[in-house]
Symmetry: C2
Subunit: 424 residues, 2 copies
């Protein structure tokens, strides 16, 4: 079965919006063991739409078309499909009734434009949209089924999960007998990880992929078929053993997500005192619902005065060692922890750049500390040749990783091959 | 001139990474007055690449091809182009010498794989890459010039700006006689903005577009040709007059960027005390280099204890009015400002959801305050039917907008048609 995708819309084509629908769809299909083989993005011109429907229907078995089902004059997908097939548009009585009902229930006046959404190519099979006013539909042309979906991400996701996937499975007998195991790594480059995993003999039906999403690299173990699926847990253990301390989480997208789950379950509390990371450690956790149960406070103490007044860093320590130092960041962590008597506190102080570096402490120099009830751990790293954003996100990830190792009773400070550490 | 784009790479096609290169390129072209007419995304299979080069070269005049120039076995663009044209690969001596020089200067051993990057289709014109090991090249096939660029965003941007644009301008005589004026709005829906701008008669050669990038809506005035360009400032003034308080910035991407520039220039200092926004106000400013000159500190005081101990909020106020109240957020702002004697402090306290709402204060209820040396301004808004992320980013935007209005000597608290405000 050959699957393609056609994305429509001037906004997507012209780069005014990034096409996250396309990435979401392709990724979902891959997790079901189905590859998208080609994706074509076109604007809202009638002749472009008609041409691409006709052309791709000669090559693919099924084509997911996204966008162009709305009520405005730019929304041409149904009419273009009718032209491509050489048939008229016909009003779908079921969807018209549905629209009238929807507008009267919501006390809104239905305009003539909205009625347009019930007009489908004559041979189309209507596809219900329980969460919006644009119905989907599918049409057979040449060798392909073209499956039309709304551009609104929420509506697309509904329709793909509830209608497209079952249709594909029924029509093409795809047995989505696949499983995925994700292993999150941090601190090592893709080539190094690959060299450690190369000796591993993967069972038939299993593939291994790398996905770089800074500051992490994710390793995906993809198993197709019962035999490969049965061996997945065992192979995952082999991968983890081969990678050692590079592994920071399993089946989580980020270190922040891992920390969130660990702290949420543990009942332990956390404060953060951030300088160069500027609230990143805090805000990545706040993004998860329920974080208020463990996150006591996050203090972005940018100025020296703030480090002294709020965190109790000694002015003498700042004078003696400078704001970016092991000594200061340890006092920051201690101060942040004791202020509300938390279980843990993380602290960072560094030079994110592009300016502010010195010969001794160039841009990318970051001191990071973790305070617990019994100890303070710290390290000073040098993240060179990276943008301000990356210095910040890598620093936050090192901090999270220190806390994660403490929560897992591992050594808190480890070597990262892709991040240099200053000798203490 | 008909411009298309071909994006290559399994990772892009399969949705493992979102194709921001494509959006960046299309957007840049649009700002130069050139439309991308179609974008095709394919994986790393040789036959797919050959087919798409042959096919699209019949339809387009110029095609930007992105990706597949690296040293690994997945990188097939040069070989696929040679096959599509029916010619051999030939080693480019200039680029080989460049590679040898680069590796010896960087004290790195050059592998056989790297040499592959100097092999180009026989008829190719090599294109310099001053920032990477993959040279670009261009080949004429059928009616099209295919212009090959590296997938690394930084290298792509260099090559497009320094080589692709001049080539297009020279080859196709494109006179990029265009200008763009962006007007950033906040707090009002697109349909309302559109209804206010509809009566405006735009001069010939000028178009008006809307781009929703939550929490803002950007209005783009695009002028093509000398006459339209000359009228751009005047039309921009008309647009601003028609939109009134909805306008929050010009030629800036976000309110945070506007605040950054205003504070950076003014020499005034800021602190933030954030509860539900969880560091967002601070971290959006820290993202800009130079923010340490005005941002004194950002305090994420999630717990009540932290509000009391760090900001000096009175326990009685918390008891009497609850953490999400005008009274508490005003004390938070006052406390954050006086702690380091800043010029301004922003404070937020709210219920971001999805849990934690009550009948009186449902999810989306957020209290926001601005403290200055002379006064405290506050409002309580109700952001309903939005995700946790959006409640947070809309709240941060309201806070920035209050500060921006104060800096511009405007009324600090205004009505937003898309955000409800509680009566005080």
């Amino acid at each position: 079965m050959k699957l393609e995708m056609i994305c429509t819309g001037e906004e997507v084509l012209s780069g005014q919006i990034v096409d996250t629908n396309a990435a979401w769809f392709a990724n979902l299909m891959m997790e079901h063991g189905i590859e998208v083989q080609r994706r074509v993005t076109v604007g809202d011109r009638m002749e472009d739409l008609v041409a691409v429907f006709q052309e791709r229907s000669l090559h693919a078995d099924i084509i997911l078309v996204n966008g162009g089902l709305g009520p405005t004059s730019d929304d041409l997908s149904a009419e273009a499909m009718a032209q491509a097939k050489g048939e008229p548009l016909v009003e779908n009585q079921e969807w018209r009734a549905h629209l009238e009902d929807w507008f009267s229930r919501n006390n809104r006046v239905m305009s003539a434009n909205n009625l347009k959404q019930a007009w489908l190519p004559a041979s189309a099979v209507m596809i219900d949209n329980p969460v919006g006013t644009a119905c989907g539909f599918r049409v057979k042309l040449n060798r392909a089924w073209l499956f039309f979906t709304p551009g609104v991400p929420f509506e697309l996701k509904h329709m793909v999960n509830e209608q497209f996937l079952p249709f594909v499975q029924q029509e093409f007998g795809i047995n989505a007998n696949v499983a995925l195991h994700k292993i999150l790594t941090f601190g090592h480059g893709e080539s190094l990880l690959a060299s450690k995993l190369e000796p591993l003999a993967l069972p038939v039906g299993m593939t291994l992929g790398y996905r770089s999403s800074m500051p992490h690299i994710e390793i995906k173990l993809f198993a197709r078929g019962d035999e490969a699926i049965a061996q997945l847990p065992q192979v995952a253990e082999q991968v983890k053993a081969a990678l050692g301390t590079a592994v920071v989480a399993e089946n989580k997208a980020t270190l922040a997500e891992e920390i969130h789950h660990k702290l949420y379950r543990s009942g332990k509390t956390l404060s953060a005192a951030e300088s160069c990371t500027g609230g990143l450690i805090t805000s990545q956790l706040v993004a998860f619902a329920g974080s208020s149960s463990y996150l006591q406070q996050g203090l972005v103490t940018y100025s020296n005065e703030s480090k002294v007044k709020v965190l109790g860093v000694k002015p003498q320590t700042l004078d003696d060692f400078g704001a970016v130092s092991i000594q200061v960041v340890e006092e920051m962590a201690r101060g942040a922890r004791s202020l509300l008597d938390c279980d843990y506190a993380l602290a960072t102080s560094g030079i994110a750049g592009p300016d502010g570096g010195t010969e001794e402490k160039p841009v990318g120099t970051v001191a990071i500390a973790l305070a617990t009830r019994n100890a303070v751990y710290s390290q000073m790293v040098k993240i060179s040749g990276r943008s301000r954003d990356l210095v910040r996100s890598l620093s936050a990830a090192v901090a999270y990783d220190m806390l994660r190792r403490e929560l897992d009773n591992e050594a808190v400070v480890v070597d990262y091959s892709s991040i240099r550490r200053y000798a203490k």
